[in-house]
Structures are given as structure tokens and as C-alpha cells.
Symmetry: C2
Subunit: 420 residues, 2 copies
């Protein structure tokens, strides 16, 4: 599977010379991190790179093929990949199972099996490696995250793009990313198995519209967070048109996930928040929360929200009042009890805290706890988000999404951490 993430030589079948075309953008993108061998029978070269009629004309050995041609030519292309000895293929093209063309997808897999080829896709945007930047994307202007400890698996390319950009925007690093679309061959279980052994990956987040039966067979060695699309009737119908996903009952799905210690989330905000917390902070030793604040209003709301959660308990609410300075925060942090989670609420504006923040950033010392911060506001608050990120403290701009996420993190620590 390594060839999907760090190939030395890559052929792009369906390479194009026309800017903006998928086959051009992939070629340009891949050429930055690997030796490329474009295949297009109508061209001799593209932007000075020699072009081939078929992969069979390439002399060098090829680690990975990326296919971006219409389904009609796919069987011949796959056959030739097999003969050439290529073992890893990403099929970007759509027009297969999701469009009712199940037959051609099956035949393509049969050809691949004959040659021992593994396929990612079709109907996907392929792979991205955060560490070396390698990706099979045709998106030119996308913000991509740096290397990190979060792996993303997604059936939806769209969802993947949005999530990668949001992670990049908030400086959360990614180990490996796979958009696997119709998953005609490599499925989420194959990918999890790979990622369990991957040293870079500590957390695995999945967006999927259906799951393979093997997904439910065992507990995993790393934390898994799942957002399932197509839970409702309307969503199921849309999912079937999207990735050809079969319907399952969501309650049963959720129950089985719970037994396996898999975190299920209902929406994108929750998924992102849990990723953010788990990628930046250690597991909490317990679900007790200490709140340290210089503003009572947000602390009252946070206390209410904690009270509603099964796995959280408010241990201390330390209101330093508006006159608190960075030193007061540092002292409070020093003297806090045995709470597993320490939530700092900051009201910055023209409070003495704002003027002494530098001291806080310099004086902050981590103890055995999971730290998070909340600050509501505008530009100034956003700047502090970056400073706090340097201390690995995830900052949220309101308490509710954070507290939902913390509840699930503690649930995982209690129920699911057998697999960590």
C-alpha cells in the first residue's frame, strides 16, 4: 500500500495537455513529487514531458498508475497495467456503480485481481500524504495541511476537500488521506489495517456512506471516529446516487460501533472538533472538568452543557473575575485539583489578561491533563487561537461544540480505549 502514498514513478493514464482538464492538473500535481509518465496516444509530449501511447511503451518500472479516462477504455487500460506489472492503481474517473454501470466496475476488478493489482476508487480524488505532500488531486488551488497524526478516509471527495482545507486553515496536520469513492477493491478495512501499522497515524477519521461487513469484526488498535452519511431515507437515496451505497439501519450501526469502541458523530462540526482535540492533546485521565475563567457568563453556559453530558462532570469552576491577569491564570493552573480536563475560558477585551498574555504563553506548563480553551469574539480572539495552537491548546469559539466533543473523547477513554 505504500505505493499509494510515496511512489517514485507514476503513470497518468488520460494525461491531458489542456490546462484545467483533470488529466493535466493531476500530471502537474504529481510531477512535483514523483517521476511522471503521462499516457495519451494523441500526444508526443506534454509541457516537455515525454508522452506514451500505452503504459506498455514505458521502459521504467512504475509504482503507481492514476487513471482519469472514461469507463469505456478502462478494461484495456487495466489489462495493460497488469501486463506492465503495475500493482497499484487509483481510478479517479466516475461513471461506474454510482451511475448504474455496476457491470463494468466488476469486470475492471476481475482484470485487476488476475494481475494482483490493488485499486483505490473509482469515483474519487485519490490519496494525499501529509508528510511528503504527494497527492493525486486535480484541485489546483486547494490549501493542504502539513504532516501530522490524523488519517482521513472518505467516500466523498467533496467532503475530503472541505475537511483538508479546514484542517490546513487551523494548522492540524494529516498523516495520510484517502478518498476511496466506490471502493471497488481497497475498502475502509484494508486502509485501517494499513494505518494501524503506520507510524505517522495516531487517529483515524472516516466519512462513509456504507461500510463493509468486515468493518464490524474487531476492535481497532487506534481511535476511530466515524461520520456516516445516508442515515435518513432521503440521505440514503442521495448516498445511493453518490457512491452506490446500500442502506443500513443507523441505530444498529451505532450500537455495533459503540461495542467496538468506535466514536460515532452526527455532523461535520463534531467530527472536526474531536479530530482537533485528539490530534493536539493526550487522552484525559478522567471526565472531571475544571473551568478557569475571567468571565462568568460563558462559564455558566459551559457548566450547564457539562451537566447534560453523561461522561463529563464539573469538578471546579474558578472565576478569576474580569480583573484577572495572566499570573492569576498561571496560579490557578498550578493549584487546580485532579481534573482530567482543564478548560480555560478567556475574555480578552481590555481585560488585564489581554495586556499580560505574553506572560501566559511563556509561563504555561503542561501537567497531566487535557487542555482546551474557549474565547468568543472577533479578530483579536482569532489571533490568540494561533498562539494557543503553538502550545498545542485547541481553542474553540463557543462552548457547545467543544463540550459535545469532549464528552465523546471521555467516552472513548472509558469504553473504547482498550483499542489504544
Amino acid at each position: 500500500m505504500d505505493a499509494f502514498f510515496q511512489p517514485k514513478s507514476v503513470t497518468i493514464i488520460g494525461a491531458s495537455a489542456k490546462e484545467g482538464k483533470i488529466g493535466y492538473e493531476i500530471l502537474k500535481n504529481v510531477s512535483k513529487r514523483a517521476r511522471v509518465f503521462p499516457v495519451n496516444p494523441a500526444r508526443k509530449e506534454i509541457d516537455g514531458i515525454k508522452c506514451y501511447r500505452s503504459v506498455l511503451d514505458i521502459k521504467e518500472s512504475i509504482d503507481l498508475a492514476i487513471i482519469a479516462i472514461t469507463p469505456e477504455g478502462i478494461l484495456k487500460a487495466m489489462e495493460e497495467c497488469g501486463k506492465k506489472g503495475i500493482k497499484h492503481v487509483v481510478v479517479i474517473s466516475s461513471g461506474f456503480k454510482e451511475s448504474g454501470n455496476e457491470e463494468i466496475e466488476k469486470e475492471m476488478v476481475e482484470v485487476a485481481r488476475k494481475y494482483g493489482i490493488r485499486i483505490i476508487g473509482p469515483n474519487c480524488i485519490g490519496t494525499f500524504n501529509g508528510k511528503n505532500g504527494f497527492n493525486t488531486f486535480f484541485q489546483r488551488h486547494m490549501q493542504l495541511p502539513d504532516g501530522g497524526n490524523v488519517a482521513i478516509l472518505t467516500q466523498s471527495g467533496t467532503f475530503g476537500i472541505g475537511l483538508l482545507e479546514k484542517l490546513a486553515q487551523e494548522d492540524i496536520g494529516v498523516s495520510k488521506f484517502v478518498s476511496y469513492g466506490n471502493k471497488c477493491d481497497v475498502n475502509e478495512v484494508d486502509l485501517i489495517e494499513y494505518l494501524e501499522k503506520d507510524d505517522e497515524t495516531e487517529i483515524i477519521a472516516i466519512y462513509a456512506e456504507d461500510f463493509s461487513p468486515q468493518f464490524f469484526e474487531r476492535r481497532y488498535k487506534k481511535p476511530i471516529i466515524v461520520l456516516k452519511g445516508g442515515r435518513s431515507e432521503a440521505g440514503k437515496k442521495a448516498a445511493r446516487l453518490h457512491t452506490g451505497a446500500m442502506a443500513t439501519n443507523y441505530d444498529i450501526f451505532q450500537g455495533v460501533c459503540r461495542q467496538l469502541g468506535i466514536i460515532t458523530v452526527d455532523n461535520f462540526a463534531e467530527l472536526f472538533s474531536i479530530i482537533k482535540i485528539m490530534s493536539m492533546q493526550p487522552m484525559p485521565k478522567n471526565g472531571k472538568v475544571a473551568i478557569i475563567t475571567n468571565g462568568a457568563g460563558p462559564a455558566v453556559v459551559a457548566a450547564d452543557l457539562i451537566d447534560e453530558k453523561e461522561n463529563l462532570e464539573l469538578a471546579e469552576l474558578i472565576d478569576l473575575t474580569g480583573s484577572a491577569t495572566a499570573n492569576d491564570y498561571l496560579n490557578a493552573l498550578e493549584n487546580v485539583g485532579d481534573a482530567g480536563i482543564i478548560s480555560l475560558i478567556f475574555v480578552f477585551h481590555d481585560a488585564p489578561l489581554a495586556a499580560t498574555l505574553q506572560k501566559f504563553y511563556e509561563g504555561f506548563r503542561r501537567k497531566n491533563a487535557l487542555y482546551v480553551a474557549i474565547a468568543i469574539g472577533g479578530k483579536f480572539v482569532m489571533e490568540q487561537k494561533e498562539r494557543l495552537a503553538e502550545l498545542s491548546i485547541p481553542m474553540f469559539d463557543e462552548p457547545s461544540i467543544l463540550i459535545n466533543a469532549l464528552d465523546k473523547v471521555v467516552w472513548f477513554k472509558n469504553e473504547g480505549s482498550g483499542n489504544r
Copy 2:
């Protein structure tokens, strides 16, 4: 009550000459929009403005007094305001009921009643008028919103600052803002009565830790959105220390609000989202939602979330696929059925849509529907948020909070709109 928002002459009792002090910052702030008369027996002038020993020494008539002295001097100051004929006083100072000093707060109110004075506060940051920028704040670097149709009432100053900054950041305008703290005299009901008659105000949002009994006596003429702090035991305790709020049962509170057509929300994210939708868009004619998208994944999740909501129904899911251009969106909008809510999902990145956005912005024509947009991503997406705001279309960066908010907006339209 107008004098709280557009006074011509204002005295600041406890004015200070020292930068950073509350009494200095308020003076500076108020002097930008009104004639100021600082009171401080120790000073002859502050920054060139004549200073008075007492309000009784001021010859001009005074519309509003802002008091920022400690509780010890408060009775004398209030007595003098009465003698001077001042009818409106904002008491910024804390150290009253919330600190156990209920007696002095009561005596202060007795003095005020004797002279027909109305008090906002104590333990608050006072008022802000979005239209003329007048405010009684001591925050110097706060981002303030422009004028608009949303009124904010809050017991927590902190909460108010955070909310105002976030509204400013997202270009949502405010009509009137009142931080009323311990509400020793003017309470939320007085303020709502005033705002019901205020031409600028169309929506009223409230954060409060306790409500006056009269709050529950009638339906209001304008939509009211309420976030109640202190719902849980821990929150109640914190609220008591914060604004001296008495405990009430939240379920009962919520039930009564429902009967009165008042929208209750559980957290800041929901409050903000409902404000955003209602301030930018008309009431929907029904709860049917049409989704128009160029990316299936986010649409599947949105469909799932809509299905879970009592007041929403998915009417159409139009997947234009990744190849959609602005024209396809405009055509789909032209041909959409009778849905009351039209949700545009945009996947911008290197999609043909991104290149043709200008056409969309120019060609967009409003029909009889509530429009919203969803786009997940990074910098590019944030830029589109501003462009969409110019068309009054609120943009959200993921579906879940939006759909929660829409459900409550439709509930209001069905159950609560007797009061609009």
C-alpha cells in the same frame, strides 16, 4: 428610555484621568458621541474637559448619568442625580447583590424611585446604539457592529462583548444593545417593551440567568430568542455568584416559552446562527427545504440532518455534480419548486463553479424563499462568505448548526409568528 441610547449630555460619575481605568475609558468613549461632564472631586479637568465635584455643580441639563464608583458612594451619587433632575442612570459598578450586598442595591433603588430615576445595572457594561455608535463601554479595542435590525439584551457583559464582536466580524448589524447585569430596576420586560416600539429593531436576542415573572405574562410583538444560563445545578450556582440569579426549573421555563412563541436555544452557536438567519432573511413560507449542490457528500449529511428535524422536510435534492457552473445554479434556482427554504451547497475548489462565481453573484434573483448557503473549507470559502453577505445570503461552514437553527426558525413561523 431613549436617553439610554442617544443622550445629548452625559455625566460620568467616577471619571478618571488615568488611561486604562474604567472611569477614563468610559469618558473617552462617550465624549465621541455626546457632550460629557466628568465628575471627580479630586480633578479640575481631564484631558482638557472641565471636571465637576458633583453633578449638582453642572449648570447644563443632563440626559444620562453613568456611574463607575464603588458601592460605598452610590447612595449619595444617586441622591444628587435625583436632585439634579437626571432621569436615566447606568450603574457600571459591581459589588452589589452578586457579592451579597443586597441591602445597598435595594437602598439605591429606593432613592431612584423617589426621584423617578430609571437604572440600568448595576454590575454591567451598559448600552450601545448600533445606529449612532453611542456606547457606555470601557472596552477600548472592541470591534463594534454597524446599525442593523437585531437587539441584544444580556445579563452577562462578557457574553455581550463576545457576541457583539462576532456580529461585527460577520457584518451583522445591531439596533440596540443592553447589558443589564443585576437588573435592580430596568429589567428585560421593560427593555422588550421599549424595543417592540423601536423602529430599528426586528429581532430581540436575550442571554439571561433569571427572568422576571412578568416576562411570562404575554406574547411579544417581535421574535424573541432566548439563551438561558444557569440551567444545571452547577450553572445555577455559578449564575447566583454572577448576577444573583434565583434558580428556576429549565423544563418549565422552556415549556412556558414555547407557549408564548419564544425561541429557546441551548448554546451560543445556535443563538448566533438564528440571529444570522433571521437578521438577513425573511420568514420562510413553509418548512420544505430544497438543496442545490455541486458536491454530494455534504448534501447527504444535510439530508440526514433535515430528516431528524420536526419542522423541516426535504423537498428536493438537486445534485448538479462537480461540473456545475454558476449558470447551472441560476437555472436550478429558477426552476426550484415551492420550498420555503433554499439551501445552496457550494464546493468551490477548482470546480467550474469557482471560475464563474461572478456570474452567480450578478445573476442571483431573490424569489419568495429563505436562502442560506453552506461551504466547507479554508480561505477561499471565507472570501465567498462576504460576497454572499452582500446578497443577504447567510453562509455557514457546515450543515449541522445551520439546520438546527432553521428548524427553530420554522417552528417560530408555525407556532410563534402570531407575534410578528
